[in-house]
């Protein structure tokens, strides 16, 4: 199964935000989407997840067309996204947020609420156990009864991730998971993402600015520049691509070919 973009285009007024992007993202691999600010990464994310449908082109996941579907339907098919700014369900506790992600539709009606069925109760109990398991795995079990708006920015980021896992995704779409994360912890974060994806046979599509982070975990990297796909390939190849260098630097100044951020961050980030 894979996520396939075929000549996806999205314009806002006269501005072409995503310019005929075609790409294939395998469901069991970690794919990175990089590019400078305004390259169209988040727009592409919104197009895939139904928040802002594309003007043209097709998006499919497995054998289903998903472009034009409402966001909740895309999520139901197993594509679960996170958000750049991890606000979350502000007044819900970590536990409640986790359980909400796992609540089935049949329990989410007034009738379901009033005559809470055995099935719903069993579901709730299983979900509770899973929430405890996942939070323990992410080292945040002590935060289960803390309200989301009282978490630190880093913990909210972690919750964003934990909550997505509760929704039983087939593929995760992570929008800047490393933003607002201390450089010293990037290494741990990438190990965590890698491990959780591998254990669950999960793929993910990750947007980030932090190249060292992406280069560590991605199987494949796509580079966007001004809405168009500039290059695709394994991280090492991308890091050596002079076009990518030019995009990140403005012009081709360095000769060793590795993006500057990646070069400077890899050493400390890997720790």
């Amino acid at each position: 199964m894979e996520l396939v973009l075929d000549t996806v285009r999205k314009t806002f007024g006269g501005v072409v935000a995503v310019d005929d992007v075609s790409a294939v993202m395998p469901q069991d691999k970690i794919t990175a989407l990089i590019g400078p600010n305004g390259a169209g990464k988040t727009t592409l994310f919104n197009a895939i997840t139904g928040f802002d449908p594309p003007d043209r082109g097709s998006i499919s996941f497995g054998d289903r067309r998903i472009d034009g579907l409402p966001p909740w339907r895309v999520a139901e098919l197993g594509l679960i996204r996170t958000f750049q700014t991890p606000v979350g369900f502000t007044t819900l506790t970590v536990r409640e947020s986790m359980l909400t992600a796992a609540t089935p539709h049949f329990a989410e009606t007034p009738a379901g609420a009033l005559g809470l069925s055995r099935r719903a109760r069993d579901h709730e109990r299983t979900a509770e156990a899973r929430a405890e398991e996942i939070t323990a795995e992410l080292d945040m079990a002590d935060l289960l009864d803390v309200r989301t708006d009282e978490l630190s920015a880093g913990d909210r980021k972690l919750l964003e991730f934990a909550r997505s896992l509760m929704a039983e995704p087939k593929m995760l779409l992570l929008d800047e998971p490393a933003a607002a994360v201390a450089p010293a912890n990037i290494g741990r974060l990438s190990q965590l993402v890698r491990r959780l994806c591998d254990e669950r046979g999960l793929g993910s599509l990750i947007i980030d600015h932090n190249l060292s982070f992406l280069m560590q975990i991605a199987d494949e990297v796509h580079v966007l520049d001004r809405g168009a796909l500039l290059a695709s390939g394994p991280p090492a190849e991308i890091a050596a691509n002079p076009d990518v260098m030019r995009v990140y630097l403005g012009e081709d100044k360095e000769s060793d070919g590795s993006p500057p951020e990646a070069a400077s961050d890899t050493v400390e980030g890997a720790g």
């Binding site: 966001p71 909740w72 947020s97 912890n185």
Partner: protein, 329 residues
């Protein structure tokens, strides 16, 4: 200081407003839909009940003279239907646009009641509403029966709304209220859930309408002016919007306070001054409550297990050097 019958009446009214405030809390407190159309829904339920039960000799075009026990649930269902008709277009809007639209719909309903005079008797109103058990208990003693009915209605409302609040459904409602985008991204059918909640609130308000009529005894369109909506809202805000017990407590405090102001003994020459400052005193009560208990008498926080507020520092510091601690990056 006054006879007990007076206070029985006050408590009855308080229980009716409690019921309405608890119903409002489901859609507005948990659902985040700021509905200013309570009066309209109450009018729909009331007139449905009145028309179905009225005596044929009142010359209303449609008077099936149903038993009140049949008409009561029908009034609730009909109000749910009206809520659906209002909610379907209005829920396409958000926040203040939704709020003003529901207010407009409530006025439309009131005007319809006035215009459809051959069905509703228009501004003439309908006197002598049929009341349960009034052939067994008569006179002043009936007030105690009425209080019993209102208390029972409020108790049922409390149990129903609490069950909604603590259920996974209520949790998802609060989640979607806090962050619609995240709820959608987790596969929640936010719009469908909201319209169902709006209908549920309509049914609950419609079910309360007959109790209100038993208390008022006669119905006319001016009963359903927007003032009643604002009283219900004030009660909910005082009690604690989003909490479970807030609507109940807030309405009791507000109604008892309002009625007690009317009991202040003043020189007859100054009685109009007292009447004039009554809204001012109610406003003062609201300000004082919000000043000292911003979340209301009962808060949403205390209702849903978020426990005592941990200080931000301890929430941050107690963490081991987690994977994504800090905000340095």
């Amino acid at each position: 200081m006054t006879n007990p019958i007076f206070w029985v009446g006050v408590l009855t009214l308080a229980m009716i407003y409690s019921s309405l405030a608890m119903a409002l809390n489901v859609e507005s407190g948990w659902g985040g839909m700021w509905d200013l159309g309570i009066a309209g829904l109450l009018a729909a339920g009331s007139y449905c009940y009145v028309i179905l039960t009225s005596d044929a000799d009142l010359d209303m075009r449609f008077a099936p003279e149903l038993s009140m026990w049949v008409a009561w649930p029908l009034a609730a269902l009909f109000t749910g239907l009206v809520a659906f008709a209002i909610g379907a277009p209005a829920l396409r809007l958000r926040r203040e646009y939704f709020l003003i639209t529901t207010l407009a719909f409530a006025e439309i309903i009131r005007q319809l009641v006035v215009i459809q005079a051959d069905l509703t008797r228009g501004t003439l109103g309908v006197p002598n509403i049929n009341r349960p058990f009034d052939s067994f208990v008569t006179g002043r003693d009936y007030n105690y029966v009425l209080l019993g009915i209102a208390v029972a209605a409020a108790a049922v409302m409390y149990l129903v709304t609490r069950q909604v609040g603590v259920s996974p459904f209520g949790r998802t409602l609060r989640a979607a209220r806090d962050n619609e985008a995240v709820a959608l991204a987790l596969g929640k059918r936010v719009n469908r859930m909201r319209i169902k909640t709006f209908i549920l609130a309509g049914v609950l308000i419609g079910a309360t309408a007959p109790v209100y009529l038993f208390y008022i005894r006669a119905v006319s369109p001016q009963l359903f002016a927007p003032g009643i909506t604002f009283t219900v809202w004030t009660a909910l805000v005082i009690g604690g919007i989003g909490s479970i017990r807030g609507g109940l407590a807030g309405a009791v405090v507000l109604i008892v306070f309002t009625e007690a102001v009317g009991l202040i003994e003043v020189d007859p020459a100054h009685i109009n001054i007292l009447v004039a400052i009554e809204p001012f005193l109610v406003g003062l009560l609201l300000v004082l409550v919000l000043r000292f208990r911003p979340d209301g008498l009962f808060s949403e926080r205390s209702a849903f297990g978020a426990g005592n507020r941990p200080s931000r520092d301890s929430a941050g510091d107690s963490r081991p050097a987690g994977a994504t601690q800090g905000s340095g990056g």
